[in-house]
């Protein structure tokens, strides 16, 4: 009886290990859509973004991500901040846990930002709009979770540090509780670092494994 049980157990585990799939392997190419929230930036305001990405996995433990994002932030009703990111990242997988694949991520992007103050039917503030191109680096952690062998959902948190000149503006609280957006108020703008956290949720589909198939 004991022998039968041991045999059953052995059979069960061999079946289990046979069914294990290498979900994140060399040669995988994935396409995905993402939504990004920008938090803890220079203003305590939440931004919402949308974008897409492609992943090309170079090694079993190393992936690359090529992405573009469009993020807009409501500056407390006093204006709008628009951000566009286009960049790339490297993902390192220290340990894969079957469907759950955590990673460390680092990368670089080009960044466009524009701040648009509120205009009204009486006041035109279009001359106060400010914009700039800059470069940024980002680093963080994340994880894929594979729902099927081809489809995964991914969540990541990254800190993005802008390297170039940044936009200088200030939200000034007024007596009636509303805010006023003051732009170009500081000509020493470029000398300070600016950073924020990006929380990204994405849906990704593996379109194929194009190299390194075993």
């Amino acid at each position: 009886m004991k022998k039968v049980k041991v045999l059953n157990l052995f059979l069960f585990f061999s079946l289990f290990s046979f069914s294990q799939i290498n979900y994140s392997q060399k040669g995988n190419v994935e396409l995905g859509l993402r939504t990004t929230s920008s938090v803890f930036g220079r203003d305590p305001l939440l931004g919402l973004g949308t974008g897409g990405q492609a992943r090309v996995q170079l090694l079993d433990y190393l992936n690359t991500e090529w992405y573009a994002d469009w993020i807009t932030i409501d500056l407390n009703g006093a204006g709008t901040r628009q951000n566009a990111h286009i960049g790339w990242s490297v993902l390192f997988y220290p340990k894969k846990m079957n469907r759950f694949v955590p990673y460390v991520i680092a990368g670089h992007c080009f960044d466009y930002a524009k701040v648009i103050p509120l205009s009204t039917e009486l006041v035109d503030r279009s001359l106060d709009e400010i914009s700039r191109w800059s470069s940024a680096v980002q680093m963080g952690v994340g994880s894929h979770y594979y729902l099927t062998d081809r489809f995964n959902i991914t969540f990541s948190a990254q800190y993005m540090l802008h390297l170039g000149k940044h936009l200088e503006y200030e939200l000034i609280e007024q007596a009636d509780g509303t805010s006023y957006l003051d732009t170009n108020f500081d000509n020493q703008a470029g000398e300070r670092f600016e950073g924020h956290i990006l929380l990204t949720f994405s849906l990704n589909y593996r379109i194929g494994t194009f190299f390194g198939k075993k």
Partner: protein, 186 residues
């Protein structure tokens, strides 16, 4: 009278053929066109034409793109003169049979224009209403009925989240939408 007959035909044909066998495919393409009603705050509704195209793998995971063509806002506070949307994402189909409930997440952009708040252009003296591109996120669930070899019907509910941001006061794009439509699967 002719319209009534066509509508009746559209409803009856799928029901007659409902008893046919359903074949799970490695992948299938779904395309459909429908009508969507959106519910905003302050007793306001939106009417939209809803189009979709998706690829469904093994009748389980569907990668899908949707577009909404804004027709109008009616009610106590019509606030947009344009609110066209495109979005894409993935859906999980719970049953691999003719009748497929599904649930998913999409992200996209709204091409929106306020009808309430405009800003004066100091040069021309004209009040302008800017169209801006605003990110949106949408959670959706629905039912698909594969009624015939080439034919499908869908009903869907979704909640959109987002904000119209421009050079004027921001306006929430949050909206609950109900859609139904007909389409082809192949």
């Amino acid at each position: 009278m002719v319209m009534k007959k066509i509508l009746l035909l559209l409803l009856v044909v799928p029901l007659i053929s409902y008893s046919q066998e359903f074949e799970v495919k490695d992948w299938r393409v779904n395309t459909a066109l429908g009508f969507s009603v959106g519910f905003l705050t302050e007793n306001t509704r939106s009417n939209n034409v809803h189009g979709l195209i998706g690829v469904l793998f093994k009748d389980k995971i569907e990668l899908r793109g949707d577009s909404y063509y804004f027709l109008n806002n009616i009610g106590e506070r019509p606030r947009f003169s344009k609110n066209h949307q495109i979005m894409a994402g993935a859906f999980y189909h719970f049953l691999s049979q003719k009748f497929q409930p599904y649930f998913g997440l999409q992200t996209g952009v709204a091409f929106s224009q306020s009808s309430e708040f405009g800003a004066i252009n100091a040069e021309t003296g004209v009040i302008e209403y800017k169209i801006t591109v605003n990110p949106i996120v949408s959670v959706a669930g629905g039912l698909t009925l594969y009624a015939q070899k080439w034919f499908m019907i869908f009903v869907e509910a979704r909640q959109n989240f987002g904000k119209h941001k421009s050079n004027v006061y921001p306006i929430y794009l949050d909206e609950f939408r109900l859609s139904f439509g007909f389409g082809f699967t192949f």
